[in-house]
Subunit: 337 residues, 4 copies
């Protein structure tokens, strides 16, 4: 196979970015089809990127013979079914998280993947493909920090996007499912272990609107993992400074911090506010390269016939953990896995 | 009163520093007496600092008429009795933490203080007198960061002092009582609130010797405070880089970080290891000025007849909280206050 | 024109990077030909990147009809002639710096460009295409730092590459022509002005081998620009920490610093060496994206019929200034432009 | 001698700080007299600090028998005469910079010091007593950075003090004499060498008022030192962010940067302006400890009969160099020493 022919599904913010990446920033990949219900956006984007096939029906897209693979950036509620359908149509599948919106859906996705062992399936935990997270992960694997003692990870969205978050709250599943899943995935990836206990707390500190969904605007949890590692996660929607994703891994011999300052670029400003770094504003700005790298990995796996490091089971595990965090948060109790 | 005449008790590392500070770095204070059981160290120090009165008996020291106040840097187990005795002898008392080694002892100390309302009593939570913590506290009080959402604080001793920590382990009371008390005090001071629940975990990640005392070499806890604030504390004995005390206060409108890098000074080194800051090695290096400031505050309170901001009740509260953290750690359960 | 069909010339380190970028990381571009005298490298690369046409003769390459443009990453001494020949063959030309190895050659290149006004010519001052330099430049243009007072820029190669630098010394033209040209270009770009005077000094501090070429291993110069701005440049070959390119622009209302720490990525390491950032090792690591962006700009200019911001005259000006710095350095005198 | 009995002269901002330091923050020192022409300030300060002797006449002060030493923080124009008079009266003398306002005056001071070999004379280049500068100096002496290649030092006053600077401009001697003298001293101290050539430039970028005194609001110079080291100094009066004194020493094996960010304390603020450090506002805030340390060193030298590291000849040399920088600046030429 010379180039993997890809159809990209969904033209929301991330979907659009995927489409542009596949069209112009990747090797061995060709964007041959786009799918979105918004026809004007569909044609405008396809024209701009020179994409021959356009669909407003997902079923029609996967019926396209000259398509090797699909990239799913559709609404979360559609993921499980689209994964199964695309695999059933013989396509390789890359899906953005989550695998499904319930654990039961995740299990369905597992079955679909298991039923098509010759096809590549990959889930988009993009942080694993960020060069800084990868660099840190290699150091941890190489034993440079010794045994992991504390894993701490934050996911904070800027306060300025709060109206969108409130509007999306009925469908988000809450902070643990919507935001902390990435930190949960990282915790498992860095520690190589799974949680035993969790205590989760939080509140509506600035925006009471989240309370009706048993959610908070800022939440956290402390977990003990099976290998003894302590895991502290924090997810918030009111970051004053920007889009902040930071992680610290304290080991017995060394400590790594990834992005403890969410610097926008390498420019430092010295002015009346002091000496300062301006910050990343959103996930696309912070993880722009990671979104390219993850789909490139998917493409490489198809070409070389290898299996992606992120499996369908990672998706299920992360969902199970996030639901358990949510249960602890809602009941105010310590929960054992 | 022109100068407060002080007797300093205990010439361990911190006691020696207090003696030197009172002798030469403070206003309105005069070091007139020293007390330690090690006679050679007592006379060497007294000679060097020009101190006229020397005692190896605490009772004799407090019988000295020309003494206005005592500063206690004696072993923790002696604090409660010495506080009571010195107050009984009519002296103002500054005591290093802890107030007592059990909550019952703390209550005894409370009674002694209450019985001498005209005398100044102050407990040495030195971090409150560090200029950076003070600067941050003023910003929080002024509302600059909005409502507190998450208070995170670390106390880490360098790995290189581990043998001393192991030797002291039978008497330390464990990580929460020995180290985290400072972070507990800060949490109460910054949030103006008290804990409701705590879940504490940890382990012996590098040094199994602590296990026999139901202690770990690294521990942490997550608490929910009555005002809703989340509080995450971490205390460790294996810091690879130095003496690390850092605190972060995330508010709804701003975030403050104090000493997120435990920089030794303002020198940055660029060499084969990259661009780096060397780190503080111990509490005396990091909190040198705070130790001066706290005793200066004590002296100022005596002269002006005011009451120190840190009261005897703060000492009891912090001990109660630390014991509760310890109980959660030992039982592996969520504990409600 | 749907895609610009490009032939890339030279497969040294930078040439190889350009070839890979054009092949897989750019929009509206197609790598259709490669040219290098090393036939095995030529075919290995062309096979790997799927490039149909391969040449060991530059003349044959530019005779290829289905070629719209050439990207020159050949040895510096060939640039002027290849620019003229490629333009003469009707191709758009992107050339890495320098335009020529003498000012006379630069003037020849100017004539060639002037003789083909309908074809795009662009010179590769890649730093202008680095996102951090661009961000800073926009702030300067927007007046955010007021009037430029001091422009300071460093170019430092790591000590570990010194043997290569010594071997190349007879052909490099010296530090000002080989390294400081990028800083000179930035100074002109940021200040919008040209130099009036220069005083240049330096020496062989660690490597006497450079002395025979009237060069130093570390040099610097202070220039006064026509708008009054002070410009201080430093170029060195013995950086202990990595590849360091940093720039500071002090204005009357604000100061900007670009990459004052040449951080490799967003990982911070805390270990026995303190708190540290590992550093970029070479220009490809630091300016990887800039090399993509500059050729993308070239491609965009061809497609949209616009003129690149970096002109042939910039190349000549920079060479003239670098030669004048060199003259000051060699004579030990102040030189006026 | 048990305690050195000191009379402090001048109660301007720095003089007041010296008085308070001697009164309450130093060992082996006693503040026994104050001298200032402003009688109300004199008595208010003496009362507050418990100082028995007060003088508005310098001659009367030095006639006081029970005085061992004087600390001069009087107007610069008085230094030379007061140094000579105090030494003549048998007192040890600490003088703030400058030694004199002309090189001739400096030579006079030299003679006075030479005439009283048994008395301690020390000049207040306080930066040498800052712990960060001292730490860096020890590393340089220990050979940790190899051979010095480039010494770069900035002295910037905040824009907000510009009106005071303009008012003082007729008497300041210009930027090189008023501000850069500290950097010149550091350059000599760190390199152990003296300048050979200098080229100085600058301008009035924001405040034309300085032009009438042949001065600029921002100036710089490049010097070649006898050991080959390059020295670049910058002095400015329009710093947007605070009081900025920073120094970089690039060596063949390592690089040191001192205070490249003029951080006010250890607090980092994350808010709408990004991630930022607030800055020092003035020299007293930045060099508070250094001002204590330098006078403590003076006191220690008196007690132990040793000679201070900063000699009267350092004062003359620095003045000579500053005048030569000024000459280069005023004539626009390269000047050789």
């Amino acid at each position: 196979m010379n180039k993997v022919r890809i159809g990209s599904v969904g033209l929301g913010r991330l979907g659009l970015q995927h489409a542009e990446n596949i069209a112009g920033k990747m090797q061995h990949a060709q964007l041959v089809a786009l799918c979105d219900v918004d026809k004007s956006k569909l044609h405008e984007t396809a024209d701009r990127l020179g994409v021959p096939h356009r669909f407003s029906s997902f079923e029609e897209l996967i019926a396209l013979k000259e398509l090797d693979a699909v990239v799913l950036a559709s609404p979360s509620g559609l993921h499980t079914k689209q994964i199964a359908a695309a695999l059933g149509a013989g396509k390789h599948v890359f899906s953005e998280k989550p695998l499904g919106i319930t654990v039961a859906e995740c299990k369905e996705a597992e079955k679909a993947v298991e039923a098509h062992p010759g096809q590549v399936f990959m889930l988009g935990f993009m942080r694993r493909f960020d060069e800084s997270y990868q660099y840190a992960h290699e150091k941890v694997l190489a034993g440079e920090i010794g045994k992991p003692v504390l894993f701490r990870s934050y996911s904070q969205d800027p306060e300025k996007f709060i109206q969108g978050a409130i509007a999306f709250a009925p469908h988000s599943g809450g902070q643990f499912l919507d935001m902390a899943v990435h930190d949960i995935d990282l915790a498992r990836w860095f520690t190589g272990s799974e949680p035993e206990t969790v205590y989760a707390i939080g509140d509506c500190y600035a925006h009471p609107e989240f309370a009706q969904y048993q959610d908070g605007d800022n939440v956290s949890c402390l977990m003990r993992f099976k290998n003894g590692c302590m895991v502290f996660l924090f997810a918030g929607r009111t970051a004053p400074h920007g889009y902040n994703v930071e992680t610290e891994i304290i080991g017995t011999k060394g400590i790594l911090r990834i992005a403890s300052i969410p610097q926008k670029n390498l420019v430092e400003v010295l002015d009346a506010h002091g000496v300062r770094r301006e910050c990343s504003e959103n996930f696309l700005e912070r993880f722009g390269s990671a979104y390219i790298n993850e789909v490139q990995e998917f493409v490489n796996c198809i070409i070389t016939g290898t299996t992606p490091a992120v499996s369908v089971y990672d998706g299920t595990k992360v969902s199970e953990i996030a639901y358990t965090c949510k249960a602890s948060f809602e009941t105010g109790t310590l929960v054992r896995f």
